[in-house]
């Protein structure tokens, strides 16, 4: 494997873990959501790295699709966060646990 691809994969693993940490350890829904974006971004980096390793553009085309999916996800996720804020006037993820069954 080309060295730059290996380093990119390692960096992607670390970014994914930090994103997961933000989701697990933070209580602000906005920061948790940014952690999800970071994890998505790390996965994209993996795709681009393998596209470079294999010399194919299919990985890059997949990342283009994921960019659009991420945009749709952000739009809906932020709308949900806005709706919860409106309803509760609160900024804590645990405050929304009243929706538990």
């Amino acid at each position: 494997m080309q060295p730059i691809v290996t380093y990119s994969l390692a960096l992607s693993a670390m970014l994914f873990a930090i994103g997961a940490l933000a989701v697990l350890a933070r209580r602000n829904p906005l920061v948790m959501f940014m952690g999800i974006e970071l994890m998505l971004n790390a996965a994209n980096l993996t795709f681009v790295a393998y596209a470079r390793e294999l010399g194919q553009v299919e990985g890059q085309a997949a990342v283009l699709i994921f960019l659009a999916v991420a945009a749709a996800e952000v739009a809906v996720g932020l709308a949900i966060i806005v709706a919860v804020y409106r309803h509760r006037r609160d900024v804590d993820a645990d405050a929304a646990s009243g929706m538990k069954g």
């Binding site: 970014l15 890059q60 085309a61």
Partner: protein, 178 residues
């Protein structure tokens, strides 16, 4: 990998990691968003090194541009400047638990790379790529032939997302069904 490549990659990787750590640890969500923008720009730089200039441009335009602007809009709508940013956890020792989980995740991923032979030196020189991966033309051809169905599905998904976002974020009408 030439020396210039190594230097640029190291700088971009450090910036990306610093941005990610800053995002996860900043108290104020606005600072988190700014750190995340730094991270996204650094990853765009790495895309350039990985011979994907189209994606680097789109990363800056779509992620660091559109998506983060949306985030900052929402933050400015709902987070008061004087607001205290406290962290009260529902689980005891939640940060420590999360740290353990994340540490094992990193070990798993990097260990998987190592066992998979990613760190071994390349045995053979990889063959020159069949297509020029840097050209937007090659990317467009693949997008509109092999990825045509996902491409069309994405348009439906975006439409659904627009409708869903409008329906969710609309302020409930008084007396109406909301």
């Amino acid at each position: 990998m030439s020396a210039v490549e190594i230097i640029v990659f190291a700088a971009a990787a450090l910036l990306a990691l610093a941005g990610a750590v800053g995002m996860a640890s900043a108290r104020n969500p606005v600072h988190s968003a700014l750190f995340l923008i730094a991270n996204l720009v650094a990853v765009a730089l790495i895309y350039l090194l990985l011979l994907a200039p189209v994606l680097a441009a789109l990363q800056v335009l779509v992620y660091a541009g559109a998506i983060m602007v949306l985030f900052i809009f929402v933050i400015f709508f709902f987070v008061q400047p004087s607001q205290k940013h406290e962290t009260v956890y529902s689980l005891p020792a939640q940060s420590a638990l999360a740290g353990i989980v994340i540490l094992s995740l990193v070990c798993l991923l990097i260990g998987g790379l190592f066992l998979g032979g990613a760190f071994a030196p390349p045995q053979t020189l990889s063959a020159p790529p069949a297509v020029d991966t840097t050209s937007p033309q090659a990317l467009g051809v693949v997008l509109f032939t092999k990825f045509l169905l996902p491409f069309e599905l994405v348009s439906v998904l975006l439409l659904a997302a627009i409708l869903g976002a409008v329906a969710l974020a609309r302020s409930p009408r008084k007396g109406g069904e909301g």
